[in-house]
Symmetry: C2
Subunit: 202 residues, 2 copies
């Protein structure tokens, strides 16, 4: 890396840092690109040179904390706990995390989770990681005989991810609902998914 490239990367980092600070502090609507540039000690034109638009800047600025959350949660997974508890560990942690700044993360998720994938590479990679994580967990349970051998693991992982998305939607749509109530509901849904709702007489 050149000195030139290094200084470019440095500016970029400063802008991201400033953006993270101001976004968390004031929310997306109440902080302008100009303010972010000022905080970073750069010009507004420079921000636009580095990031396609405000959303892209936001995605990258907030992604750091989100990735950190995922890593922390992966590391703290209670390996010997029952499957349901293990399945709930990450979503529970994320809901708690998003609860720390519910409105900001609502806007963040809203602008990423339904966007075409190539526009939000960071969140795409993260969802993928989480789904892979779920797959591995279920695959493991297959080996220990707790999960039926004929189960399609990728479908099961997608289902669990969907249940999490559903809980997330409720979480953001009803801002006054306590996070514990959401995780409680998600636990119930996950439990139902594990055992199924129909009688054996299929």
């Amino acid at each position: 890396m050149n000195r030139r490239q290094a200084s470019k990367a440095e500016t970029r980092k400063l802008i991201l840092k400033a953006a993270r600070k101001l976004l968390v502090q004031k929310g997306k609507e109440d902080c302008t690109l100009k303010e972010i540039a000022e905080e970073a000690g750069a010009s507004a034109a420079s921000v636009v040179v580095h990031f396609k638009n405000k959303i892209a800047l936001m995605e990258e600025a907030l992604y750091v904390d989100i990735e950190k959350t995922l890593i922390d949660l992966s590391d703290s997974l209670p390996i010997n706990a029952p499957l349901l508890e293990r399945l709930m560990h990450i979503p529970k942690g994320f809901l708690r995390f998003y609860d720390s700044n519910r409105n900001l993360y609502r806007i963040f998720i809203k602008n990423t989770i339904l966007q075409p994938m190539e526009e939000t590479p960071f969140i795409a990679r993260q969802s993928e990681q989480y789904i892979k994580y779920l797959s591995i967990m279920i695959e493991g349970e297959k080996k220990s005989g707790f999960v039926k051998p004929e189960v399609d693991v990728s479908i099961a992982a997608a289902s669990l991810f969907s249940l999490y998305l559903g809980a997330l939607a409720t979480f953001f749509r009803i801002p006054e609902m306590p996070v514990e109530m959401i995780t409680h509901g998600l636990t119930a849904m996950t439990q139902q998914f594990l055992v199924g709702i129909t009688c054996e007489v299929l």
Copy 2:
């Protein structure tokens, strides 16, 4: 209703009609409030008097078709088909419907499904209807002995709705994926949810 109120309602209807036409034609970003006003034969200021903002106008303008879709699908439900087929009838129909203008409805859903509920009363009511619909279906299956009596119906309905949301997210996030592939995946998830993934030896 007064003549005054009637004419107000008429203007409102004209604006909604114009908005629907232009939104479907050009998408949200490519049509301005001014254009919509012009098409409706009203002034831009008048649009703002009637609707809080562009999103609110969009919600109401597009809602008509969505409600119609739900009603049509409810009416055409194959009553005697197996549960899985009945459960898939409405989501399948909606995915097909959204596929007719994938980008427009992506933006529409993005701006409603994670918004605080009171800001999107129309879509809120519609989700509620669909969930109630699911509840009734499951409750019925309980009576006919196909669904376990101990199942919490509202949790099951929320789960099925979540699976649909998950499919919807994939549908919008991967614009090139054909709608049949999405419904196929959703069917697999729903099927798994019905039977469960764990062995009986709980």
